[in-house]
Amino acid sequence: MDVELIFKIAAIGIIVAVLNQLLVRSGREEQAMMTTLAGLIVVLMMIIYEIKDLFDVIKDVFSL
């Protein structure tokens, strides 16, 4: 079981939060928003495979 995935997501969240603060402070709101969006998409792409795995296992176990 890859517990590292949770740490990875949390780390990305913290990094994006820091970048967001920096960019907002230096007056680049658009880039800050783009950073947030990019981080969100990256994390979503990471999670979506796990969800697919889970749903496959559920389909298998419960013969849905």
Partner: protein, 134 residues
């Protein structure tokens, strides 16, 4: 993904996920939701593989009681729908979207109703047959 799992691993995973969620919620609530979804998926996926032997045992018991076939399969299917619905609804509710969570639960109920309606029809037919009504 699957290894030997004990309750300490799972509880530790849940605690770590909870702490990270609380930490991230102050800065980026959307990441907190993603961490909680990931945590739930990992926990559930980890424990699900151990559920297969249990389900096989239940299936075997039902075969012994001569109520196997479509009935046992329907129960297991309904259980699966319940788990998936619960996962999605809880995640939505944690993110503050209780309206979407309610809709997911409604969808799950409708699907289980559709699943069990043929069996219910069978039951009613048998009852009518017993009472002599056609």
């Amino acid at each position: 993904m699957i290894m030997e799992l004990d309750i300490f691993t799972l509880a530790g995973l849940a605690l770590v996920g909870g702490v990270l969620c609380v930490l991230l919620k102050q800065y980026k609530p959307e990441y907190a939701m993603l961490v909680s979804v990931c945590c739930g998926v990992l926990l559930f996926g980890g424990v699900l593989a151990s559920l297969t032997p249990a389900l096989q045992t239940v299936n075997g018991l039902m075969q012994k009681a001569a109520v196997g076939g479509p009935y046992a399969a329907a129960i297991v299917k309904a259980l699966g729908i319940c788990y998936v619905t619960q996962l999605a609804a809880d995640s939505c509710r944690d993110a503050g979207q209780s309206a979407i969570a309610g809709k997911v639960e409604l969808c799950g109920r409708v699907l289980i109703l559709l699943l069990s309606l043929p069996l219910f029809e069978n039951l009613i037919e048998i009852a009518c047959h017993l009472m002599g009504i056609e």
